[in-house]
Symmetry: C2
Subunit: 133 residues, 2 copies
């Protein structure tokens, strides 16, 4: 049986930016997940920030996890989540699983969907509006 605390690593993938804000949010998401669920969580970036997706996978693999779930910290699916990131990961598309070889070790890789249209997103956007009034 797979133990979510020890056997699974979560790779939270951000867009990356020349400015610090995208990285701050991706790190905050990863920290919140790590604190709340006591899982192995690693950040990685599609572009402009470090670690790269390839390096993020290697860092997680080195911890001995059996399975990695890569999840895009993106609001919606688009070319980045449907083409660019799956291309780097070597998975077909969102929701698909594959087995990859990292430093000689076989690891199951799942690719999760983006944030999407959850009600709390609208609540936050409305809160931002109220903050200006």
């Amino acid at each position: 049986m797979v133990n979510i605390m020890y056997d699974i690593g979560i790779l939270v993938i951000g867009h990356g930016s020349k400015l610090p804000y995208n990285k701050e949010i991706v790190e905050s998401i990863a920290e919140n997940i790590q604190k709340k669920h006591d899982t192995r969580v690693q950040t990685a970036y599609m572009s402009m920030n470090e670690p790269s997706i390839e390096d993020g996978l290697k860092i997680l693999a080195a911890t001995g996890v059996k399975k990695i779930v890569a999840v895009p910290a993106f609001l919606a699916n688009g070319v980045h989540t449907l083409k660019d990131i799956p291309g780097i990961l070597g998975v077909e598309t969102v929701g698909t699983k594959t087995t990859i070889l990292i430093d000689g070790v076989q690891i199951e890789l799942c690719y999760a969907g983006p944030i999407g249209a959850e009600e709390c997103i609208a609540d936050i956007v409305f809160k931002r509006v109220q903050e200006t009034l």
Copy 2:
């Protein structure tokens, strides 16, 4: 006194995409806000989708609102929210207010911040991970 139901219009600004998913999410955010708070809400897109930000402002102004709050449906601040969108709106940066003239009518324009690092974002990202297990 300003009445949030009649005097304020909310312009939810999305990135825009050649694929339908960004537009779907921006529309869902706008619908959720409209249903929950009974305010005037209009979507607009920085690029690739319609209406443009300029057209979104005109549509809201035509409803007779006195104030428009433009809010970016972006996860984090970056070049788009700090340069591109303020440039189109004619505001200095996030959190600033100005007065604009739309079709001869003076309207107060406020520019709100992006979604940012709220705890519920990490909860959704973790839910996406769990959905793959």
